[in-house]
């Protein structure tokens, strides 16, 4: 007879050990998959590292993909802390990019520093407002936020498609549906060879960490995440806290959108997010809702993305294989949490610890 029992306490070491074991198991299963494709998994894994670290250029590319993942995940963290399942970071990024692009396209000759600051603020407001809509209905009427935020992604995407094919279409692009490129004034400068977004990402990580752990608002967000009733009983204004935290979370995603439009694509397009809004959900979950760990996990994911596109050319392994790898790692880590929280007990009362 097998019985499952909850562990009374969950140690941090056990948590980390379990997650790492899960990732190793996912990599081993993926290795089987790679063998099935007719390649040597060790070679493929090594060349994934090669693809993300092999040259200064590739290393820079890896950092550049880490930046939006980190910032967007910080935004999702704010929501997940309150058990608000924000799936809408993709749309929040898009709207941030849209608001910022409005200023980039309308005032191309404005002083560079002033324009960039305006764009940054506009991006934050755009993302924040987009997050505020589902947050308002959740706080007021309990509307399901998972589906609401998700639908908002599609609305945002269709909106940009409309602009790109309609009113904002570049008249000089010979009929090709694209939005005009930004002037150099609207492009973020470089710092130490990589666009300055990495500095912004690190600063925001520190800010979010301090906000969550050392401010009253951050404390209230934690309490609401544990139990809304406890928060209400303690006299907190649960609704306004949800709204504020969601605005900040959306604003972070909006900033990430602004950075991508300004520094990476140099314009607004339907591909401005590159799916970062969805990957960031996973990053946030894998980091266990910890701001510093988000940076680490984002970096690991950037390796997976860069390495994934490198093996595509090196081994003719399609991009979707990297997606399969991502999905498997995530499912293994999700499954492994069981072994952190529960233990399996056999009838003779000898506690058997599962090795996973």
């Amino acid at each position: 007879m097998i019985r499952i029992a909850a562990r009374s306490e969950v140690s941090k070491n056990r948590n980390i050990f379990t997650r790492i074991t899960a990732i190793i198991m996912a990599l081993m299963l993926s290795a089987l998959f790679i063998v099935f494709l007719g390649h040597d998994p060790i070679k493929v894994y090594l060349s994934m590292l090669e693809g993300s670290f092999g040259s200064v250029y590739r290393f820079k590319e890896t950092i550049i993909s880490t930046i939006p993942l980190t910032i967007t995940s910080l935004g999702i963290l704010m929501a997940f802390k309150m058990k608000f399942w924000n799936i809408g970071a993709e749309g929040q990024m898009i709207m941030g990019a849209f608001f910022a692009s409005y200023f980039a396209l309308s005032y191309p000759d404005m002083n560079r520093l002033a324009l960039l600051i305006v764009m940054l603020i506009a991006g934050a407001i755009g993302g924040g407002l987009w997050a505020l809509i589902p947050a308002y209905f959740k706080a007021k009427y309990g509307t399901n936020e998972v589906l609401f935020t998700l639908m908002m992604n599609y609305v945002a995407l269709k909106w940009i498609t409309y602009l790109q094919y309609g009113p904002w279409k570049d008249k000089n692009a010979l009929g090709f549906p694209k939005i005009p490129n930004f002037t150099s004034n609207a492009v973020l400068p470089e710092f130490l060879g990589i666009h300055i977004g990495w500095v912004i990402a690190l600063v925001l990580t520190a800010v979010v960490y301090v906000f969550i752990h050392y401010t009253k608002k951050g404390y209230e967000i934690n309490v609401i995440g544990e139990s809304e009733n406890t928060g209400a009983y303690a006299g907190m204004n649960v609704r306004s806290i949800i709204l504020e935290a969601m605005f900040i979370g959306g604003a972070l995603a909006g900033i990430a959108g602004m950075i991508q439009a300004s520094a990476v694509s140099g314009t607004l397009s339907v591909e401005v997010t590159g799916g970062v809004g969805y990957t960031a959900i996973i990053v946030t979950w894998l980091s266990g809702l910890s701001a510093p760990l988000i940076v680490v996990v984002s970096f690991l994911f950037a390796i997976l993305i860069q390495g994934g596109s490198y093996i595509q050319t090196a081994f003719q392994i399609p991009q979707s294989a990297a997606q399969i790898l991502q999905g498997m790692i995530l499912l293994f880590v999700l499954g492994s949490e069981f072994f952190v929280k529960y233990q399996i007990i056999f009838k003779n009362n000898r506690v058997k610890k599962e090795g996973m």
């Binding site: 499952i4 029992a5 909850a6 399942w85 799936i87 209905f137 009427y141 309990g142 509307t143 399901n144 998972v146 589906l147 609401f148 998700l150 639908m151 908002m152 599609y154 609305v155 269709k158 909106w159 498609t161 409309y162 094919y165 309609g166 969805y278 959900i281 996973i282 979950w285 399609p318 991009q319 979707s320 294989a321 990297a322 997606q323 399969i324 790898l325 991502q326 999905g327 498997m328 995530l330 499912l331 999700l334 499954g335 949490e337 069981f338 929280k341 529960y342």
Partner: protein, 310 residues
């Protein structure tokens, strides 16, 4: 007559949504929120198409699609039922895995067409008698066999859920797992069986797209329909009969942009493309506004059941 043609097309466009919605209703009724519908549909779409291509046998194609969906459902059930993982994140990762797997398996299928045997099996035909009903006959009973299968599944599911002992047990599992456990219902068995069956239906919904509706393999052939299906579950308040209406309504929204072009309206197609998503949002809000008992999600939805925490 244009309106009849339009409604006939709306039923065709709504059928993949109907299958996926029914699948998700079953899954949610046993208390599990599976956000991986998009991934399940893609897995079904690619499996159905590939097997249809290999065997030229429509039955094998459907069986393959259902099996692929059920396989995805098995992963979801193992993680959320046995290992009590977070359902929201598990569903999302299942979508990523499904998108990856389908993109990978479908790589070689691009540009291929459905074999004649399969194509002719899914040709529209009139049902004698029923197709003579004025208006409705032309809309509902001049369709292909897949669409008829959709009606039958929805109706049978309604009977199963509300008229049989197993259906009652299944609803108890979703509403109040502790009570179900206490009365001797095997919770895990009920959850596994229904999640697997529901996921198989999602797989069939995907196969309808690649085998009949498009009919070809394109990457991400589902184009977000899996997500709309999740929302349609709420729209139909977990009732299979209402799911029929909801699915065809959204099917109509899906094709309206395309149809409107004929009328030379000044509204952009890209704005019209937003309608299904906006409609879903409006439905979500309306449902949360009027919180009647029967419109609420199953009590135990998205909470893992753990006997010792009763």
């Amino acid at each position: 007559m244009a309106i009849i043609v339009f409604l006939n097309a709306a039923v065709q466009a709504g059928t993949p949504l109907l299958f996926a919605t029914l699948g998700e209703i079953i899954t949610e009724k046993v208390g599990n929120l599976n956000l991986g519908v998009e991934g399940l549909m893609l897995m079904g779409a690619v499996a159905g198409f590939k097997i249809g291509l290999l065997t030229s046998n429509p039955y094998m194609a459907l069986l393959g699609a259902a099996t692929a969906g059920a396989f995805g459902g098995l992963i979801f059930a193992f993680l959320t039922v046995s290992l009590k993982a977070n359902q929201v994140v598990t569903g999302l990762s299942l979508t990523i895995l499904g998108t990856g797997l389908s993109g990978f398996a479908g790589k070689s299928l691009m540009g291929q067409i459905v074999p004649v045997e399969v194509g002719s099996f899914f040709k529209a035909f009139e049902i004698p008698g029923l197709s003579d009903i004025p208006i409705l006959g032309k809309i509902l009973f001049n369709q292909n066999v897949f669409i008829y299968l959709g009606y039958i599944t929805a109706i049978l599911l309604g009977i199963y859920m509300y008229r049989t002992r197993w259906g009652l047990n299944m609803r108890v599992v979703g509403e109040n797992p502790s009570a179900a456990d206490a009365s001797g219902i095997n919770i895990n068995l009920y959850k596994y069986v229904h999640i697997l069956f529901g996921s198989a239906l999602c797989g069939l919904g995907g196969a309808y797209l690649s085998l009949v509706y498009v009919p070809a393999w394109q990457e991400n052939v589902t184009a977000g329909r899996g997500w709309i299906a999740v929302a349609l579950v709420i729209f139909s308040t977990w009732n299979p009969n209402k799911a029929i209406l909801g699915a065809y309504f959204f099917g109509g929204l899906d094709i309206i942009g395309f149809r409107l072009q004929k009328f030379d309206l000044s509204i952009s197609q890209y704005i019209v493309d937003m309608f299904p998503y906006l409609a879903t949002i409006i439905v979500l809000i309306i449902i949360s506004l009027r919180k009647s008992r029967e419109n609420m999600p199953p009590e135990g939805l998205s909470n893992p059941y753990f006997r010792e925490e009763r």
